[in-house]
C-alpha cells in the first residue's frame, strides 16, 4: 500500500497543485521587485544599486539554499517529490514540515513510511502541513500592517533609535541561532567560528578590494563549512 500511496503522491495532479504555489511565490517576488524598481526611479535611487541588491540576494542565498538540498531528497522519499517541492518553497523548514506530517499521520493512526500507509493518511498529512503553514501566513497577513504602524510610532519619537532597534533585534536573533547551533556539536561550533572569523577578515579585505563586498557572505559560508568538514574528518571529531 505504501508503494501505491507514494505513486499517488507523485502524480501529475499533485505537481500541478505544487506548481501553482511555487508560481505564486515567484510572481510575488517579481511584482515586489518591479515595485522596488519603480519606486527607486521615483526617489532617484540608482537602478544599478537595485540590481546589485537583487544579485546580492541571489549570491548570499545560494549557499543556504544548497544546505537544504540533502534534507529535501530525504523528504521526497517519504512523502513524494511534488509536495516536498511545494512545502519547501513556502513557509516551513524541512523539519517543520516533517514534524507536521508525522503529527498528521499519527492523528490518522498511521506512521510515516509504514507499509500500510494509505491514501487517506496521505490526505491527512497534506491537510496538516497545509494548515500548519497557514498559521504563519495568517499572522503575517493580519499583523504586518499593525507592526508597521507601531514601527512608525517609534520612529516618530526618536528616528535615530529605529535603526539601532533593528540591529539589536537582528543581533538577538542571530546570537540565539548561532548559540543554538554552536552548542550542538564540535563540527557546528567550528563552522560557526569559521563563518564568523572569515566574515571579520572579509570586512577588512573588502575595504581594499571593493568588488569582494557582494561575495563576503558566500566566502564566509564556504570557509566555515570547509573548515568544519576538515576538522571533523581529519580529527575524527
Amino acid at each position: 500500500m505504501l508503494e501505491e500511496t507514494l505513486k499517488v503522491a507523485n502524480e501529475f495532479g499533485v505537481w500541478i497543485c505544487a506548481f501553482a504555489m511555487v508560481a505564486l511565490v515567484v510572481v510575488q517576488s517579481t511584482l515586489y521587485t518591479r515595485l522596488a524598481s519603480k519606486t527607486a526611479k521615483e526617489i532617484n535611487f540608482p537602478q544599478k544599486d537595485v540590481r546589485r541588491a537583487f544579485r546580492t540576494g541571489v549570491i548570499t542565498a545560494f549557499g543556504p539554499a544548497l544546505g537544504s538540498f540533502i534534507v529535501m531528497i530525504a523528504m521526497m522519499a517519504v512523502i513524494g517529490a511534488p509536495i516536498t517541492w511545494m512545502r519547501l518553497s513556502i513557509i516551513g523548514s524541512a523539519s517543520t514540515e516533517m514534524t507536521a506530517a508525522t503529527i498528521g499521520a499519527e492523528a490518522a493512526g498511521f506512521e510515516l513510511g509504514a507499509a500500510n500507509f494509505s491514501i487517506e493518511a496521505l490526505a491527512v498529512i497534506f491537510f496538516t502541513m497545509g494548515i500548519n503553514g497557514c498559521g504563519w501566513l495568517l499572522v503575517a497577513t493580519l499583523l504586518t500592517g499593525r507592526m508597521d504602524s507601531v514601527r512608525h510610532k517609534i520612529a516618530g519619537g526618536d528616528a535615530k533609535w529605529l535603526p539601532v532597534l533593528t540591529t539589536a533585534a537582528t543581533v538577538g536573533v542571530y546570537a540565539n541561532m548561532g548559540a543554538q547551533r554552536a552548542v550542538a556539536g564540535t563540527g557546528s561550533l567550528v563552522a560557526w567560528l569559521g563563518g564568523a572569523i572569515t566574515m571579520l577578515l572579509m570586512n577588512i579585505v573588502a575595504k581594499k578590494f571593493k568588488f569582494l563586498k557582494e561575495y563576503k557572505m558566500g566566502i564566509a559560508l564556504i570557509m566555515g563549512t570547509v573548515l568544519a568538514a576538515v576538522v571533523t574528518n581529519v580529527f575524527g571529531l
Binding site: T60, S89, T128, L143
Partner: protein
C-alpha cells in the same frame, strides 16, 4: 556595519509604497492560504478521499500546539529585520533567518543605505526577491534531478551540506552585524550560549520559542540601555 556611505540620500518611506506593499502582500498571502489545501482537495476530487472531521481536527490541534507560539512570535521577532515587504515575502517563501534576513542585511550594508529609509526598503525588497528566486531554482532542480545529483556527491560533501552550512551562516551574519557593536554583541552571545547549552543539556527547561522571545526582546532592552547611555549609535 561599515561606515555609512554619505552620498546615499535618505528619503522617508513613501505612503504609496506602504499601500502597495500591503495590498500585494495581503493578496498573495490569502491566495497562498487557499492553495495550501490544493493537494488535499486534489485527493478528494480524484479519489474521493475524505478523512474524518475528528482526525483532521486532532491533527490540527496537535500541530497548533507544537507550532502555535511560533506563528505569532516569529513574525513579530523578525519584523524589525525584515520590514513590511520583507515580511510578506519572507512568511510566504520561508527560510527567513537563513536566507531572507541574511540577504537583506548584506545588501543594505554594501549599498550603504540607512535602515528605515525608502532606499533601505527598496534594497531589502530586491535582495529578498533575489534570494527567493535562487532558492526556488535550487529547489526545482532538487525536485526534478535530486536523486541523480545526490548519487554523485561523496558522503563528506553530503555531511557538509547538511550540517555545516547553517551554523557558518549564523556565525557570519552575527560577525557582520555585530563587529562594530561588540559591547552589545559579545555579552548577548555569551548569555545565549549559556542559555542554549542549558536548554539542550536539560538543566534549563525553557521552550525554544521562549528563548527566542528573550533573545530578541532582551537584546532590544539591553541596546536601549546602552543607547540611552550614549554607548551605542
Amino acid at each position: 556595519m561599515e561606515s555609512k556611505n554619505n552620498t546615499v540620500p535618505r528619503t522617508a518611506v513613501l505612503p504609496q509604497w506602504d499601500r502597495s506593499v500591503h495590498r500585494l502582500g495581503i493578496t498573495t498571502l490569502i491566495i497562498a492560504m487557499a492553495l495550501s489545501f490544493g493537494p488535499f482537495l486534489y485527493l478528494y476530487i480524484k479519489y474521493g478521499v475524505r478523512p474524518s472531521f475528528g482526525v483532521l481536527m486532532t491533527a490540527w490541534a496537535n500541530v497548533a500546539v507544537a507550532y502555535g507560539a511560533m506563528y505569532i512570535i516569529e513574525p513579530l521577532s523578525y519584523f524589525p529585520s525584515l520590514g513590511t515587504s520583507g515580511s510578506y515575502m519572507g512568511w510566504l517563501a520561508g527560510s527567513v533567518s537563513q536566507m531572507r534576513v541574511t540577504s537583506s542585511v548584506v545588501a543594505k550594508e554594501i549599498t550603504g543605505v540607512e535602515d528605515g529609509t525608502q532606499e533601505a526598503e527598496v534594497v531589502s525588497t530586491a535582495a529578498i526577491a533575489g534570494s527567493i528566486v535562487i532558492n526556488i531554482v535550487v529547489l526545482t532542480v532538487g525536485a526534478i534531478a535530486g536523486y541523480q545529483i545526490l548519487a554523485l556527491l561523496p558522503p563528506v560533501v553530503q555531511d557538509a551540506l547538511n550540517e555545516f552550512i547553517v551554523p557558518s551562516i549564523f556565525g557570519a551574519v552575527l560577525a557582520m552585524v555585530g563587529a562594530s557593536r561588540l559591547l552589545l554583541t559579545i555579552p548577548v552571545f555569551l548569555v545565549l550560549l549559556v542559555v542554549n547549552y542549558g536548554t539542550s543539556a536539560g538543566w534549563l527547561p525553557i521552550p525554544s520559542w521562549a528563548v527566542l522571545v528573550v533573545a530578541v526582546f532582551g537584546t532590544i532592552l539591553y541596546a536601549r540601555v546602552l543607547y540611552k547611555k550614549g554607548k551605542l549609535r
